[in-house]
């Protein structure tokens, strides 16, 4: 098990336990974390699981995957350097304690 912390736009922190191998999106949905929609179920067909990886975690989370940039172009909220699709961040032991910030809008 690893820990993931979701920080909502208003600063609310939600800490959840997650399985290694799951994605940051799936973990959010499974734990009722508001602010992640994940409409296409992780098929890289939408940008409704947009998140900002906390500055301290960008290296550990790794770079965007193939096609992620293109999907993020259609994100509802501002796209920053730290923007990722949370369906493309798979949890590893190294990501224990990962902090991601959520945008205000996903749709």
């Amino acid at each position: 098990m690893v820990k993931v912390i979701y920080v909502a736009k208003d600063g609310t922190r939600t800490e959840v336990k997650a399985q290694v191998g799951d994605t940051v999106m799936q973990t959010a949905l499974d734990n009722d974390v508001a602010g992640i929609v994940g409409e296409c179920g992780g098929s890289m067909m939408c940008a409704t699981c947009h998140c900002y990886v906390d500055d301290a975690w960008t290296d550990a989370a790794g770079p965007r995957k193939d096609g992620e940039d293109d999907m993020l172009d259609c994100a509802a909220d501002e796209v920053k350097e730290t923007s990722r699709l949370s369906c493309q961040i798979q949890l590893t032991p190294e990501l224990n304690g990962l902090v991601v910030h959520l945008p205000e809008d996903q749709v």
């Binding site: 799936q26 949905l29 499974d30 734990n31 009722d32 409409e39 296409c40 179920g41 098929s43 890289m44 067909m45 096609g67 940039d69 293109d70 999907m71 172009d73 259609c74 749709v107």
Partner: protein
């Protein structure tokens, strides 16, 4: 206040419940689903799930979500009729009163009048997919009736697992209803390359214990036959309640039926295509969820905006991701860009763009079509660069 009742707990029905709460609706929400269990995603049933068997990954929301959001989920409950005068929905002995009713009844598999069709398996529900996975756990000769998205996605997975696969499609090309002839050809080549036998212009006429029989008298040896010949909308409830039905529950641009207390969404709804005004029914996650959001905004905020979302679709076959942005009719013109993207035109208007493994062009098209129509002349002048028009 009797609250809002949603009949159908697929992705669209669930989205309606979620969006109603997100918009601030405080009344009772009852979500009634015919299938057992929690609402789940259907698209992966013929894709990732067939390979992985991971049913938990399909779940749209955990059980706790329904408690937290105060949404009453009634699974495994079959709704028998709607009493419009009394504003109630009846399911066996149970009665649910509504101020507003949302029909999200979806579709069911079309079962054409083919001899022995009861032997054929379906791929529509999680139970169907579980059964197929069991069958595919030992070597099989698979025959597929229907060369559309579902049939071809199944074929690609089954071939990937090493099974023999044959596909019979009644039309003269694959996915004829939804993609251009150019795209049909590319996918025919893909499936041939995978080692699948594809029979075009080949209507299935019968299914026996060990074969699929085609209209030309030939037969294809098969241990298992998948029926993937399309779906029909579940409109009986609406029709029996006296609502207009024409290849789906007829709704206006607000997604309202003729009864101001009843809306319909998703695969079961026929609505005016924002681009053409033509009555269309779409089988897609996009339409189901965008419909749901519009209905929620209308019911909670009183929004009167007409539905205007750009349709999009996808299909995963082997390592090809087909993406379609927009909506074309089978006869629309095509122009193929050097990189393979297929642009389709209804007269002078760009109707859709089809791409394979090209998310950039797909997303550019979705974005651009959302801003308004694109003319063929302008696109031609820009060398088919959708981002430049």
């Amino acid at each position: 206040m009797a609250g809002i009742v949603i009949v159908g707990a697929g992705q669209g029905g669930l989205q309606a419940a979620i969006s109603l709460r997100q918009e601030g609706y405080e009344g009772t929400i009852t979500l009634i689903g015919a299938e057992d269990g929690l609402p789940y995603q259907r698209p992966p049933l013929s894709k990732a799930y067939l390979k992985s068997g991971d049913a938990e990954a399909l779940r749209l929301r955990p059980e706790t979500f329904f408690e937290k959001s105060d949404i009453t989920l009634r699974s495994g409950l079959w709704v028998d009729r709607i009493d419009r005068a009394g504003r109630t929905v009846h399911a066996g002995a149970e009665v649910f009163a509504y101020d507003h009713l949302i029909l999200a009844t979806g579709t069911r598999n079309l079962r054409p009048p083919i001899d022995g069709v009861e032997r054929a398996l379906d791929l529509r529900t999680l139970d169907d997919a579980k059964k197929l996975r069991e069958v595919l756990s030992t070597p099989q000769r698979c025959a597929v009736i229907g060369g559309g998205f579902i049939g071809l996605e199944f074929a690609a997975v089954a071939r990937g697992l090493g099974h023999e696969v044959a596909v019979a499609e009644a039309a003269d090309r694959l996915m004829a209803r939804v993609v251009s002839p150019e795209m049909s050809q590319r996918f025919l080549d893909l499936h041939h390359g995978l080692g699948t036998a594809v029979h075009l212009g080949a209507a299935a006429q019968g299914v026996t214990r060990d074969a699929m029989h085609l209209a030309d008298g030939s037969e294809v040896a098969a241990d298992v036959v998948l029926l993937a010949a399309g779906v029909r909308p579940n409109t009986e409830l609406a029709a029996e309640a006296g609502l207009a039905v024409d290849n789906g529950v007829v709704v206006d641009a607000q997604l309202l039926t003729g009864d101001p207390a009843i809306s319909a969404l998703g695969d079961c709804a026929v609505f005016p295509d924002p681009a053409t005004g033509r009555a269309v029914r779409l089988e897609s996650v996009q339409a189901a969820t965008d419909h749901a959001r519009l209905i929620a905004r209308r019911l909670v905020k009183g929004d009167s905006d007409g539905y205007g979302a750009v349709p999009w679709f996808w299909s995963d076959q082997a390592d090809w991701k087909l993406q379609i942005a927009g909506l074309s009719a089978p006869g629309d013109d095509t122009a193929v860009r050097a990189d393979g993207a297929v642009f389709r035109f209804a007269g002078d208007r760009l109707s859709s763009v089809e791409t394979i493994n090209n998310a950039k062009t797909h997303m550019q098209t979705r974005k651009r079509l959302g801003q308004g129509p694109v003319s063929r002349a302008a696109l031609k002048a820009a060398d088919l660069d959708i981002a430049a028009v």
